[in-house]
């Protein structure tokens, strides 16, 4: 078997195959990135239903535009930019986003996935996420994108509309302010 058809096949190869109508390649792109697309949309919209719609609509826009993907950016960054724009568009249409967050969002902790031995309690983890939501948008998104998606600061900057340096600063400020809030009773 060609190693490029293995589980580690780069996105760009899958994109080429999907362009040729290969549904299996398309399925793998969806399988790889739907969660990330959802979380990026959720980070902007803070509403799970709207986030799911934005993730789907953004994905479809990307699929339709596959012929225009030239590979200057990584596929993931390109896709997430489209999803992010879709979510921002929905936000503009719907007006203010909901303030209530996380109550109806499924979290890793809810599924019993062991993340790390040091995790103390599900409730404490949920509280941390809740406090994260209170941070300014760019700080919150910088922390989320860096932690949840493993994006580089350059990629984070592209998504939040900042330079790489500014994305790094937002991330550090976000962590510091989150810790301050967590230390409060």
């Amino acid at each position: 078997m060609d190693s490029r058809d293995g589980p580690d096949t780069p996105d760009e190869v899958l994109v080429d195959q999907a362009r040729s109508g290969n549904e299996a390649a398309l399925d793998r792109l969806v399988s790889r990135h739907h969660g990330t697309a959802y979380r990026v949309a959720l980070g902007i919209l803070r509403d799970p239903d709207m986030a799911a719609d934005a993730a789907q609509d953004g994905f479809l826009k990307a699929i339709r535009a596959l012929d225009r993907f030239r590979g200057e950016a990584r596929f993931r960054t390109w896709l997430l930019t489209i999803v992010s724009n879709e979510a921002k568009g929905q936000l503009r249409k719907k007006g203010r986003r909901r303030e209530a967050v996380l109550d109806d969002v499924t979290l890793v902790a809810d599924r019993g996935v062991p993340v790390d031995d040091a995790v103390v309690a599900v409730e404490e983890a949920r509280r941390a996420r809740r406090l994260l939501q209170e941070l300014p948008d760019k700080q919150r998104l910088a922390v989320q994108l860096r932690l949840d998606e493993g994006l580089s600061f350059r990629e984070v900057g592209e998504l939040i509309g900042s330079s790489e340096g500014a994305a790094r600063v937002n991330y550090h400020h976000g962590i510091r302010r989150l810790r301050e809030r967590m230390e409060r009773p």
């Binding site: 999907a18 109508g21 549904e23 398309l26 399925d27 969806v30 399988s31 739907h34 969660g35 697309a37 959802y38 979380r39 959720l42 799970p48 799911a52 993730a55 789907q56 609509d57 994905f59 479809l60 699929i63 339709r64 996380l102 969002v105 499924t106 979290l107 890793v108 902790a109 599924r111 993340v115 790390d116 040091a118 995790v119 103390v120 599900v122 404490e124 983890a125 949920r126 509280r127 941390a128 996420r129 994260l132 922390v143 860096r146 932690l147 949840d148 493993g150 600061f153 790094r168 991330y171 550090h172 962590i175 510091r176 989150l178 810790r179 967590m182």
Partner: protein
């Protein structure tokens, strides 16, 4: 926070999620042992990681079905997007392809309107028509000039009697 702290904290998300290359771990771990502030940041990130939102069940299939339809050029507005189609199909290719087909139709309509406007302009421009100027509004009403001329219609004035007779003869055939 010094440079060492900044470099360490840059990498903490990768450490928490096991994405940090093995070769980079000793340096990060060494610093963590000496720095309470970075350990506190690590603890906060670990808590966040434990509560990472996950996509709702079914979203992957929903996107996959719609994406397959979007990729497949067959059946542009057919049954896949019809009343009996799945929600994914209705929000997927059916809608996408419907847009593709509708867009040219709107383009044709716009072109036809433009031709009419230009045609009207050829026989009666606002500058040349005081009545139109007197109407004052920004929108110029679309109507035919008194002589019924429209763009694209044959101009008969310049024909000789012989040519006109020939034309009438051909129209009667």
């Amino acid at each position: 926070m010094n440079d060492r702290c900044a470099m360490t904290q840059d990498r903490l998300p990768d450490l928490v999620t096991d994405r940090l290359p093995v070769g980079d771990r000793p340096a990060v771990q060494d610093h963590l042992e000496q720095c309470a502030e970075c350990r506190a940041s690590l603890a906060a990130l670990r808590l966040l990681a434990a509560a990472t939102p996950v996509a709702p069940a079914g979203l992957e299939h929903r996107i996959r079905d719609a994406a397959r339809l979007a990729l497949d050029p067959a059946d542009p507005v057919g049954e896949a997007s019809g009343p009996g189609a799945s929600p994914a199909a209705q929000t997927g290719r059916g809608r996408l392809w419907a847009r593709r087909w509708v867009a040219p139709a709107w383009g044709l309509a716009a072109a036809a309107a433009l031709v009419l406007l230009l045609g009207r302009g050829l026989v009666s421009t606002p500058e040349a028509d005081p009545d139109l100027l007197a109407m004052g509004g920004d929108e110029i009403p679309l109507f035919l000039a008194d002589d019924g001329m429209v763009a694209g219609a044959p101009v008969l004035d310049g024909l000789t009697d012989e040519d006109l007779a020939l034309l009438l003869e051909e129209m009667e055939r």
